[in-house]
Structures are given as C-alpha cells and as structure tokens.
Amino acid sequence: MSALGALIRRDIRIALRVGGGALIGVLFFLTVTVLMPFAVGPDLALLSRLGPAILWLGALLASLLTLDRLFTADHEDGSLDLIVMSRTPLELACAAKALAHWIAAGLPLIIATPVLGLLLNLDGTATLAVAATLLAGTPALTFTGMIGAALAVTLHRGGLLLAVLVLPLSIPVLIFGVAASQAAISGPLPFGTPFSILCALSLASLVIGPFAAAASLRHGLD
C-alpha cells in the first residue's frame, strides 16, 4: 500500500508544480466557460438554460487536455518500465495514477464550478446540482480516459488520437451528467434517476478502466 501511496503523492506533487497539469486544466475550464457568454450573447434565460451543458463540456475538455500525459510522461522518461517491473500489480498502479490525476486535475474543476456558475447566470441550487454531478461524473471521465491514455503510449504523438478514442466513451457520462443537472433545475424528471446512472457509470469505469489500461500497457511495451 505504501507503494501506491508514494505513487499518488508523487503524481499530485508533479501536477501541482510549475508546468504540471492541474493549473492548466482549471485555466482552460475557465477560458471555455468565460468565452461562452460572449458567443451566445447576453440572453440571461438562454445562458442559464445552457449553463449545465457548458460547464460539463468545459470540464470534459479540460480533463481531456491533461489526460494525455498520464502515461506518456512516464513512458518517455523510463519510469513506466520500472512501474511495470515492480511488485505492485500494474492494475493497482494504473488506478493509483488515475486517482492522483483526478485529485490534482478533476477536483479543482469542481471547486471552480460555483464561481463559473455565476458567469452563466446559474442560481445556488443549479450550481450545487452541477457541482454534484461533476463530483459524481468526473471519475468516470478520468478512468475511461485512462484507457485511451494507455493506448496512446504505444502510438507516438498519440495526443490527438486520445481525443478521438475517449470522446465517444464519455458520451453517456455527458448525457446523464447534464440530464441530472437539468432535472435538478427545471424537472420534470426527479434528480435521483439520472444521478444514480451517473454514479453507476463512474463505479463501472472505476473497475474496468484500470484493467483495460494495464492490459494495454503490457501489450504495448517494447
């Protein structure tokens, strides 16, 4: 367990240092969300109707932006070789890396959501609902995105490929995330139904992601 703890601490530390991914993700999220009102126009009713969707899209793109370095950075400097050789099962090491990525790059997005909700004319409950769906849904984005990140290791310059591979996988998360937020704001669906499915998606990806990523890494090392 101490090995996994060390891996998580290292990844978070790197993400928070200069040049790490955590701040870049939040800044990108901020940029996308701030640009939207300029593109859509000053129609407050329209903005608050689009708000949850905009926040979700922003969070999705921001997490994708930093996800492609999840394994490639370790592959390029040789750390991945040592991680594969180590006594820690590769599946657990993958899960630890994804968890560290979520803590360093996913949580800041959720914390930034209330501030950005103001820009989109979302009231308190709506912002809270979006933040809750992001909290439940972003682990699914990270853990499914990890599969794409592991595939990108074997293909050099796989950054763009990652987007193509991962975006279709994240469609269900996006649908139920936005649906749950809308349900909380305007109904008529109860909030619980889409939110439970969102949680289920996260839990399923928590299990499938590490195994798929580890299999892909083992297969692709050369």
Binding site: R10, G19, G20, D81, M85
Partner: protein, 200 residues
C-alpha cells in the same frame, strides 16, 4: 542463485535481432554483454527484465525468492533514467525507494555514496547528464535487489564517477548479487564476456 536464459530469440518489428542465445550467471558473477550497435544488447536486457517477451526460449532465476518473479528481484538501469525534472533529487530517490519497496537503505546514505548529497534539494531538471546517471545509480543502492540489469551504466560518468561505480558493483557482487551489463567500454570488474551479433 543462478540467472539463466535458454535458446532466447528476440524479434523486433518483424526483424530477428538474435536467436539461439544461451546465458548463465551465478551469484557473485558479472556478465558483460558486448556487440556492435543494433546487435540486441538492450533487447536482451529488456527480455531479462520482463519488459519484452522473447519469441522463443525461457529466462529463469533459480535460488531467488520463490514468491517473486525475476523482474521483481531485478534493478533495471536503462538509457532513460526515470527521473522527474519537477521533483528534487531527494524526492526522486525517496519515491523510488518507497515505490519499489522491500529492503531499503537510508536515502541520505545512498546519495552520499554517489556524491550527490550536496545537491539533494536541487530539482532534477538542473542536473547534468552525469549527475542524472549518479542519481539513477543511487536508486540501485536504495533498494536491495540481487539482480542488476545495466544498460551502458557508465555512459556520461566522469572518471571519478566510473571508479566509484566500479566499487559499488564490486560491493554488490561481493554481497552475493549478480550483474548483467550491456557495454562498449570495459566494465572495470572481472566479468565474463557474452558477445552477441556479428563479428564486427
């Protein structure tokens, strides 16, 4: 303890790199893998490290810890030094020390052993190539593993660094370890030669 490979064959990108290769090294022995560029020295080390699957043949470690596989009992020192530029020298070393686990040495002592203790708080980004290599070598010392797989271990090291590393390898062999090193330069220790590739 004995590391042995039987009838190893390695294929990379559809091209046969080597085939029918046998090797054997006992505890306290060093094996120097030599050969021209592209002969498959690195590939052989990666096969031993479990990072490449041989097309034919088997690798085995007899007399080691029965609970652990060969890669789990081996250190691999490759061309890429597995250092994070954003972390300090001490942080890099203590991460690998914690992550690799098992029997560990005090991190400060390992840094002193490779003469890097004065740079412990420097980010690894500011290290020279030779200092990076010294830090990688400190990793081998910080966690006790019987098998060392070294790929051009002395590259980028200055004369003092090479002499220091020869001493460390001698200590490792004396304590019952074994070394397989791919090299172009003489290792500086008594080593059996394993030549692969053409006659060049």
């Amino acid at each position: 303890m004995r590391l042995s490979g039987r009838n190893l064959k390695c294929v990379r990108g559809g091209r046969e790199v080597f085939s029918g290769l046998d090797l054997s090294a006992a505890a306290g022995e060093a094996l120097a893998v030599t050969g021209p560029n592209g002969a498959g020295k690195t590939s052989l080390l990666r096969v031993l490290a479990g990072l490449l699957v041989p097309a034919e043949g088997t690798v085995a470690l007899e007399g080691g810890d029965a609970e652990l596989s060969l890669p789990e009992q081996a250190h691999y020192l490759g061309h890429r030094d597995a250092l994070k530029p954003a972390l300090s020298v001490a942080e890099n070393l203590s991460f690998w020390r914690e992550f690799l686990g098992g029997k560990t040495e005090d991190a400060g002592r390992c840094l002193t052993a490779v003469a890097l203790d004065h740079a412990a708080h420097l980010p690894a980004a500011y290290l020279s190539a030779g200092q990076r290599r010294r830090l990688s070598i400190a990793r081998l010392l910080s966690v006790r593993r019987p098998v060392w797989l070294l790929d051009e271990p002395t590259s980028a090291l200055d004369a003092a660094g090479q002499a220091l590393f020869v001493g460390l390898m001698r200590d490792h062999l004396a304590s019952g370890g074994l070394i397989v090193a791919a090299t172009h330069l003489p290792l500086g220790i008594d080593a059996r030669d394993l030549r692969i590739g053409g006659a060049a």
